[in-house]
Symmetry: C3
Subunit: 456 residues, 3 copies
């Protein structure tokens, strides 16, 4: 297994020389031009590049027609070219210029249409007249073009030549998965959607952060196993869920990673459970680090947390982003490009994900071995006779809180919530008390996720 | 049973031609002059008129001396005439003018009294000098007159002739009951007090709304049975409770209906349980409809919810009114007359009660039959590929919420509380999903009210 | 037992002639000059004086080296004299003037030191230049003097004669305990620290209030037993806990009494349990009496509640003070003297403690013997037919609340919390209903404290 997760030499070295934000931005810029959809070569090409960063990334192909709970894997969609030409033979809409110009999953079409026939197939954003919208039509066979409203106003000829050189045919759905084993069988899921074409923040930002988080985790001791899935939205997560019933029962915490490259503060949307450890922990990490953020209650609309949090699974999977979908003007338009994404924003997001996994790893449950009164800290060198500054006093207080709450019920997160101290302070205190023989670590693999037992 | 609940032809037709508010006001105006008390001909006469509206209304007579838990049915009180005459033989206080002039349950009295002897028997409202107060003395045998303070100031003669031509004698307590059976044995209780004389809002308004609600329900399919009781306050509800131990165990929800004719917003006073389905549901209906309202916590002072919510019963019975007792200046005075009651207020109250019972009927518990991920709504015609306006988006969101929460634990009310969507939106979504075969209805008769098991 | 708790004749009589505040202040003034520490003659002398007030107070001696959970009883410290003399032989720092001048538990020292050698052993408060600080060094063998910063500035000679005539030698730790038995085996703990030298508010105020509370309780009927412990901080409470495993299992409620003589409002710091009866009850008494106060959540820093609330015991013991430690400028300085403590503050604190124990005693759990509907209060003389003023209405309402909530689950405190009525109102109502035969008292000894079962 470890050899599979070894890092590829070339891009690693290059990446290691850059600040993580810049390296993630470089990856994003390289992936940007590819025309992805929920199936097809664009996804394969994307995963191929990701494997350069993580050799252990496995790529799976699931044939068209394979059932995934209530769904079937759809025909594979591929596209070579698409355009609308005027009477002079000039491409007035050109897929080669921007793959957003074609409605994703458009059926093939070729011929001359009158302007009136063409218009119902054209999509624009009158309120943002210079931007191309992003549109899809996965499950209703049709075709269409997207263009700026400005460009639409120039289409005044009586007829146009239309071509979409696409195929919708039996093939497969492609997804990537990387598993980094841990000391226990408990797992953490990180999920990204990889089905969007030339959109940078949505979701190349999430992919880049997940890749670099995985690279970071390969070098860390891990209590949990970490499972990264790179899947097309909805059908991809459903396909993965349907093929991994065993892994699903081992998921203890999870995050959907998306929209991490914009300038705004963070948004954490809770899992359906609402008070799961991941929900409380992300809120605590954001507060401890003093990061501007917003916590949202669960709702069944959004990204693949919709599937993970469906009632049959009810997994503790939240969604971590910066400004959420629909709340920034570049969302689902051609303005969501690599210039919109800031390297520093990617870097800050990676740091946050790293702190979250560090905190998950460190969130142990301890038992005070000297629970009758306080133990004598002085003779163990844990009591500063001379008092010390505010740092010393805070450390003393953290020692007392850990000793007081280490009754086998509180984990460090619960101690942080009750005491108002930062998780890191309590962790430092717990480690000192553990070293002094005053605590035992009572963490153990959690009971299997009861809601996930009868997956079919 | 159905024949018993058939509607009487004559007033029905008349009522049907009127707007419901006007029809209820007409009933109230007809009942207004009758001198009701906790027993006696006034109650019988009132129930007789109510039977014209609901043939199924049963009238029960319970003899004086019958025990009702800690109480005994009191002697029956009837009154033919009462007055105070001056030396010229003129009636200066006259029961024939307004039955509020006599303290309810006054013992008979006849003779000449000096002004000083008479004064302790006279009750006025110095702060509202033109109004006659309403006073009772049910369980302490005495007599008295009520009059405006203005009129009292004119009583300057040295002596007066006093007559109260009443009887307090063995007889019976009279109450009315209508039961509309439902598909299940579970029942909803609607209770009104019928013991007040010429007071319109308190409680002819509640009686009129309850009668028209019952008429409405006769024409509806009913999951629940509906039990309407028209009882004198306190002793009447206690008498009904003591004679209906079986029915009490079947009550799942209940409302006391009172003070529904004034101009103010609604007030819902929760049951003792505080979080009973009826408590949460009424609050939700009021919020969903955007009606001005106030929710009060339970208190053991008020109307017959005091009895239904006593600890031996602890029934989920709240009290729904407009401006509560004691909070409007006309309360318990001669100003609480038919002019004070607004037909539109009665109409609005009826609509609210109708919505509440519709919501109770519709508050089902569903189970998602495709709980692993979202089912594919598109191939069932439940997904608007073209997006649609805000209505369409709201419907989509409601579909997702119902699917997500239909785990057998949430009912539609719980879904509304969690999602923030309106109950009606979720109901519409649930019905569409049920029609598509994606849900089952897991509603079933609730377990019997545990607190009511050992009634004695 | 009763003979043991008999009150000593002489000071009792004197005290009885004074207002309690003045009597407590006189006791405090008498105890003030004694040099107390965590062991030694000062504690013995203090307990000897307390026994004049309470003959039943038992004094225990626990030898040096005795284990107390993680701790050992330390060597006994005694001091006869201490000074720093200048070259003229004048005492420039003199223990005889104020025992705060010596760091408590200073090892013996004698000799000439240069100014530079002496300075590291001197402690001042530059921010409060006229006050002597209070310092201790119990578990690190060293020595030192405390003095005003003003006095330090005058020490400009090149060398000084230093003498601390103390002993640190095998001996014992001394503590006092008084037990007033009650009708049940359930106990209330009142704990005071007695280890501070000439500091008045901290904690002679707590000692004085506890002594007078105990004197008051000797004259009261008692459902609970009351255990007063007068112990040196930390090691004293740990020693007491380690020797009284049986008593610990019987503690149902407890308070640490400290800092009760200053002018400020009260501060109640909750027990670790947070919602223990004592926590809710003290908050309710403070609110009912309209006293300015502040409720603090538990924290493991503070007085001996740290030990009682350690996870092995988790006793329901809060801490009741006026302005808390560290929040008034006189704290741990020579300004905490008898002039700082106000007799009226001591008197108000005693009244509060008396109300708390009265409320604990009265906080019964009743069952309504007529739970089906309201019982007829009128025929039991509990219903004012004529209405009565606001007092009468409040009493009526209290009767209804007690009847409604007396279902065996609510105690009077829970009724006060739910109804918003004052505890005293509900108690008065419950007593009237009990006298009328409408309630039974279902209070009984509570189950033993589960957390305290496996003390070792």
């Amino acid at each position: 297994m470890e050899t599979e997760t070894a890092l590829s030499p070339v891009p690693v070295v290059a990446a290691a020389e850059q600040a993580p934000g810049a390296a993630m931005h470089a990856l994003l810029t390289r992936l940007f031009p590819i025309c992805r959809s929920i199936t097809g070569q664009g996804v394969r090409q994307t995963l191929g590049i990701l494997r350069e960063y993580l050799l252990g990334l496995q790529v799976y192909e699931v044939p068209t027609g394979t059932p995934a709970y209530d769904w079937l894997v759809p025909p594979e969609w591929n596209i070579r070219d698409a355009y609308v030409k005027n009477q002079a033979g000039e491409r007035v809409i050109d897929f080669q210029q921007n793959n957003l110009h074609v409605v994703s999953y458009s059926a093939p079409v070729r011929g001359w249409l009158t302007r009136a026939e063409l218009l119902p197939h054209l999509h624009t954003l009158p309120g943002q007249p210079n931007l191309i919208p992003y549109r899809t039509s996965y499950y209703a066979e049709t075709w269409g073009f997207c263009l700026s409203h400005q460009a639409l106003l120039g289409l005044d000829e009586p007829g146009y030549e239309v071509c979409i050189d696409s195929t919708l045919a039996p093939g497969s759905l492609t997804y990537g998965e990387l598993f980094l084993p841990g000391e226990t069988t408990d797992e953490v899921l990180i999920s990204c959607h990889i089905c969007h074409p030339s959109l940078a923040n949505d979701n190349l930002s999430g992919i880049a952060v997940a890749i670099f988080l995985a690279r970071y985790l390969t070098r860390q001791p891990r209590r949990y196993g970490y499972r990264f899935v790179f899947v097309p939205g909805t059908i991809g997560s459903l396909t993965w869920l349907s093929r991994n019933a065993d892994a699903v029962t081992r998921i203890r915490h999870g995050l959907v990673a998306t929209l991490l490259g914009s300038a705004g503060g963070f948004t954490y949307k809770k899992s359906r459970r609402g008070e799961a450890e991941i929900d409380r922990l992300v809120a605590r990490v954001l507060a401890d680090r003093g990061l501007p953020h917003h916590i949202q209650e669960f709702s069944p609309y959004g990204y693949d947390e919709r599937q993970y949090c469906s009632p049959g699974f009810n997994l503790p999977v939240g969604c971590l982003s910066r400004t959420p979908f629909g709340e920034f003007p570049e969302y689902h338009t051609s303005a969501d490009n690599p210039e919109f994404v800031r390297p520093a924003a990617l870097g800050g997001a990676l740091e946050l994900f790293q702190t979250i996994v560090e905190t998950l790893e460190a969130n142990r449950r301890y038992r005070n071995l000297s629970p009758f009164g306080e133990p004598q800290l002085g003779r163990r060198g844990l009591y500063k006779a001379t008092g010390g500054g505010p740092e010393g006093a805070a450390f003393q207080l953290a020692l007392l809180w850990v000793l007081n709450l280490a009754d086998g019920h509180y984990d460090l997160l619960g101690m942080a919530e009750r005491s108002g101290l930062r998780f890191a302070q309590l962790r430092q205190a717990a480690e000192a008390l553990l070293a002094a023989g005053l605590l035992t670590d009572e963490s153990h693999p959690l009971p299997a996720n009861p809601a996930a037992h009868d997956l079919r």
